[in-house]
Symmetry: C2
Subunit: 333 residues, 2 copies
Amino acid sequence: MVTQKRRRPTIHDVAAASGVSRGTVSRFLNGGHNVSPGAAKAIQKAVKDTGYVVNQHARSLVTSRSHSVAFILAEPQERLFEDPNFNVLLHGATRALAEHDIMLLLTIAGNIDDRKRVSRYITSGHVDGALLVSSHSGDPLIEELRGQDIPVVTIGRPLGHEGDVPYVVSDDREGARQMTRYLMDRGGRKIATITGALDTSGGVDRLQGFREVAGHGAPVAEGDYTLAGGRAAMERLLAAHPDLDAVFVASDLMASGALIALRESGRRVPEDVAVGGFDDSPVAMSTAPKLTTMRQPWTQLSRELVRLLLAVIDGAEPSAIMLPTQLVVRDSA
Amino acid sequence: MVTQKRRRPTIHDVAAASGVSRGTVSRFLNGGHNVSPGAAKAIQKAVKDTGYVVNQHARSLVTSRSHSVAFILAEPQERLFEDPNFNVLLHGATRALAEHDIMLLLTIAGNIDDRKRVSRYITSGHVDGALLVSSHSGDPLIEELRGQDIPVVTIGRPLGHEGDVPYVVSDDREGARQMTRYLMDRGGRKIATITGALDTSGGVDRLQGFREVAGHGAPVAEGDYTLAGGRAAMERLLAAHPDLDAVFVASDLMASGALIALRESGRRVPEDVAVGGFDDSPVAMSTAPKLTTMRQPWTQLSRELVRLLLAVIDGAEPSAIMLPTQLVVRDSA
DNA sequence: CTCCTGACTGTGAACGTTCCCAATGCCGTA
DNA sequence: TACGGCATTGGGAACGTTCACAGTCAGGAG
């Protein structure tokens, strides 16, 4: 007796088993409109008996809908590995999409070659839309995708495309203002900031918020959202302004780097220098001391991100969503 | 003049533009065997001119190959958000797959409902195989996938399935032995360990390695790979053994929790208590002091993971790959 | 009784590929 | 000259769906 390599059951098998036609089964599977109760019951049973599951490729071929979206991480590799924000966002998006029965395709576009591959892949109709994360201003990817009429939503204000690309973002400016105000109210007389990358909206908006409260004369060191960058920026600040007693760092990861620099300079945190972070990312809990920071509403951000993308896929006009941040006081300030 | 909503070019368009038949174009696209140089050139030009990209759905429908694999994160949500190891692995796998032009579908199977959805999705033929991450012993997912003949490779020894499921793993036991030996050679007289979850291979193997060097009488506290779990375990250890002077913690994240507990108890690290971690995950650099740890070869692990999965998809026999770890000395021991 | 309406059903065509087989032409050899 | 073999080519069939359309049937209105 030969063990037959069993073929996957098709809609035909279900139709045969339930005594109705292909079309009726298809209708049943797609909402069950115009299907009599009797037929529905028979089909339901047949599906269970045969173990039928639809072949998405066949379905996608005719509907040209794939029920999956791309999550494009447009960052150099090192940041991906160390920055927890991406992961929080990624997991949030995956969960939010799962609620709509949509799959997430992870793509990394760190260099030029990657971008080509990703762009080709996405425009080849594999996905219904794309979530673009942390695109820096001048990124050509956003142009390419728009050129191909692929629905795109970004997280963070897409610098230079605010009008035509929908996006979701935290209220970076107000968050920075709040943190700066908190640091000053706590007694900070000489306050500085370490910025994020200034070709991202988070970088410029948080800097602007800081300046609005601390004044335009306050010391600024440019960071790049990495731990090493935060550390180096802190060292520069300390060298130029040994008397500073408070610093607003535009991301928790950079703040953890800043803490290292402060410790190595012999300063105590928060006694000598108060440190305020931004993000409330997982690192905020594992530093010593734990970081006082502005919480970004990650879960809500990813949920809105998904909601917006689905709306755009369904033809909605591009729009923007801004969510408030929240001060979380811990030990560093 | 009406702006025609342009139809995506198909293989027919390319055939027409290059003056050959559908079949020849298809052959050209799939390796170019049995295509004359002249035809090849004409097709190449036509592809460029028309902007043609294949429709993967159509291709997959006939080949029943999707050129994508699922990355299944089978963990409760809180671990995903805080444990950097998953992300390192995820990004590594994405890159390794990209080299083979294969896409990665991220799925999270934290609870029972998720598992159902994921299982249904995967068995519906969307993916060619699955990368199963951190499945705990007794996880039903692995049974289900195997039952459906889906190629699966796990990271970490799949407890209870070592024979039939291929896997990739670090040499946890030897790594633990090395770290324990290092801690003792450094002067640790009274050494303890904080284990990982004991229903994972990393948990049991690292514990075994520790015991082989430290002896079976050495204090053991069970952890769960979380920061809070590491901290609580450290507190238990200190309460029961106030005199201990070295501790091997089975993951960096738990170690960062242990550092907090040690600091709060007034002990200095490494002067009073030496701490050795495991993983060399990004957190190891952001703790104070920085962690001495065993490096897992993440890049290589993910590369092997992918290689193995592709081999299994191509019909290879299940096999296992074990890679060595490496001691990284920093400040905590 | 006839007709119309609306719910339900079946079927052919299409989606864009790959696969298979038959056909062609060319070359070298018997 | 005839023939076998090889490289190359074209086109029909299939993959498993959805969609549009036409058809059936029952029941209520005229």
